[in-house]
């Protein structure tokens, strides 16, 4: 019986409870990998966006021209990411309040800062969505695997109780199958934990860049309000 004992056969011959655990763990692993790849795309594009927008912003370009460029990009069906969204929200609010004319300088500043805060929190939400799922997978899937292992070992010992002669051949497949559950739990957990740590560090970096930009931009606006 030992001759053709492959992993596939182990999984197929496992007891229903253990098979259920395998199924859950496989799904968790696949979903967590989907999120890992998707978050990587989103976060790296956000970081690239930060760099490129900062470059454009500090290139001495006129702010209204920058805003118009963004309008053109929207018309071309291109997504506007991250920092540029914050800039656009703040600048739009600033221009609108200035055009009303009657409003005093502090109110204009407050309004544009509020608009930027809203845009910032929306951006942050976009960036950190689903990251908690990775954390959950990382902490829970070893327990699920362990559960499968316990069930599997329990089953194999129950089977052993009915045997007159307890040989290693009777227990070994059951224990092997049970240990496979733990292996799968770890397999799902390790990438999730690594990715979660990496991405939360990246997220911190990006959001702090956003906050810095918001402060700098509002200081520029402040200067503009009071100079005029």
């Amino acid at each position: 019986m030992n001759d053709d004992l492959s992993i596939l056969e182990l999984v197929l011959n496992a007891s229903p409870a253990v098979q259920f655990v395998f199924l859950i763990l496989t799904l968790l692993s696949i979903v967590s990998w989907v999120i890992i790849v998707q978050r990587w795309l989103v976060l790296s594009s956000a970081r690239k966006g930060v760099l490129s927008f900062e470059h454009r912003f500090w290139s001495g370009m006129d702010l209204s021209q920058l805003y118009k460029e963004g309008n053109r990009m929207q018309q071309d069906n291109m997504q506007i990411v991250g920092m540029e969204n914050i800039f656009r929200a703040g600048f739009k609010e600033f221009m609108r309040l200035r055009q009303q004319g009657s409003v005093d300088a502090e109110a204009v500043m407050e309004g544009s800062q509020r608009a930027m805060r809203v845009a910032y929190s929306r951006e942050e939400e976009k960036l950190e969505s689903h990251l908690t799922f990775l954390a959950t997978v990382g902490s829970v899937s070893p327990y699920i695997g362990l559960f499968g292992t316990v069930i599997g070992i329990m089953n194999s010992f129950l089977g052993l109780a009915t045997q007159a002669q307890a040989t290693l051949q009777v227990v070994a497949p059951g224990i092997s199958e049970a240990l496979l559950a733990t292996a799968m739990g770890l397999f799902a957990a390790i990438p999730a934990v690594v990715a979660y740590n990496r991405y939360s560090a990246l997220l911190d970096m990006i959001t702090s860049a956003y906050i810095t930009f918001t402060d700098e931009f509002s200081s520029i606006l402040h200067r503009q309000v009071h100079s005029s």
Partner: protein
């Protein structure tokens, strides 16, 4: 550069990430199966553990004596049978020879008679009556002789049949005795083997045990298999080793296997027993 990322992040990048994740898992599964199918053959080579077995030799003098006696008795029986067969063959030959001699004599007698009759014919008729009387007498004699011979042969045959019968009977009784002895011997053997096994299981040899050490214990037992006492009749020189053997005997008792033995067999073989403890398989 920005546009490239913009294109990737259509639908937040979900389609491409789902495809990547599933591909990754399938790749891992295929790799696992491939690795297993490659490894299967050489991973199954079992490593045989080195077997440590404790041997002790049972030299029960009673059993040995019994064996030699049994063998001697068998040899004696064989010899007797051979001697009897030789005797029988000799008797048969004797009888044949006797029969042949008798026939020859009869022929001689008949030839004499013929001669005499021829003579008598040539002689006078007056002597014929006397001659006839004589011939009658002679015939009578010869008949008697023949009768006697037949009787003799009959007796001989009966004696032979009786001898064969007796021999067969003797053989049967000796076979039965042999059978009984053999079953008893087997019983003793199996009980001895069981005791050996029980002792081997519980005998913990001390680290000071060496190959060639030898301690002889004399144990006395009750028919229930309980141990009365165990004394060291020949020490190995190492007190720890002696004590381990003694402990083994005490912890293996009672020898419940002995309860099933017939009391006669038990008394003859197991009431007192000498056990030799001797490790033979140690590495040092």
């Amino acid at each position: 550069m920005n546009s490239v990322f913009n294109n990737l992040v259509i639908y937040n990048g979900y389609p491409i990430s789902i495809a990547a994740a599933i591909t990754f898992h399938i790749l891992i599964l295929v790799a696992l199966i491939w690795v297993q199918s490659n490894n299967r053959i050489d991973s199954l080579e079992l490593v045989q553990p080195t077997i440590v077995k404790a041997l002790f030799i049972d030299e029960n003098p009673q059993v040995r004596n019994r064996e030699t006696l049994e063998r001697q008795r068998l040899e004696r029986l064989d010899e007797q049978r051979l001697a009897r067969e030789a005797e029988q063959r000799r008797q048969q030959e004797e009888a044949q020879r006797q029969a042949a001699a008798e026939q020859q004599r009869q022929e001689q007698v008949r030839a004499q008679e013929r001669e005499q009759s021829a003579l008598l014919e040539r002689q006078a008729l007056e002597r014929q009556r006397a001659l006839e009387a004589q011939r009658n007498r002679e015939r009578l004699q010869s008949e008697q002789e023949q009768q006697r011979q037949r009787d003799l042969a009959e007796a001989e045959r009966r004696r032979q049949v009786e001898a064969v019968d007796r021999q067969r009977q003797q053989e049967a009784t000796s076979a039965a005795a042999l059978e009984a002895a053999r079953t008893e011997f087997e019983l003793v053997q199996s009980a001895t083997a069981l005791i050996q096994q029980a002792l081997q299981q519980v005998w913990n040899r001390p680290p000071s045990a060496r190959n060639g050490m030898r301690v002889i214990l004399r144990i006395r037992m009750l028919p229930t298999g309980e141990l009365l006492d165990a004394t060291i009749t020949q020490s190995s020189g190492d007190p720890a080793f002696d004590r381990s053997a003694e402990n083994a005997v005490y912890s293996a008792s009672p020898f419940t296997e002995l309860r099933s033995l017939p009391i006669k067999v038990f008394n003859a073989n197991f009431r007192a027993l000498s056990l030799i403890f001797q490790p033979e398989d140690l590495l040092n």
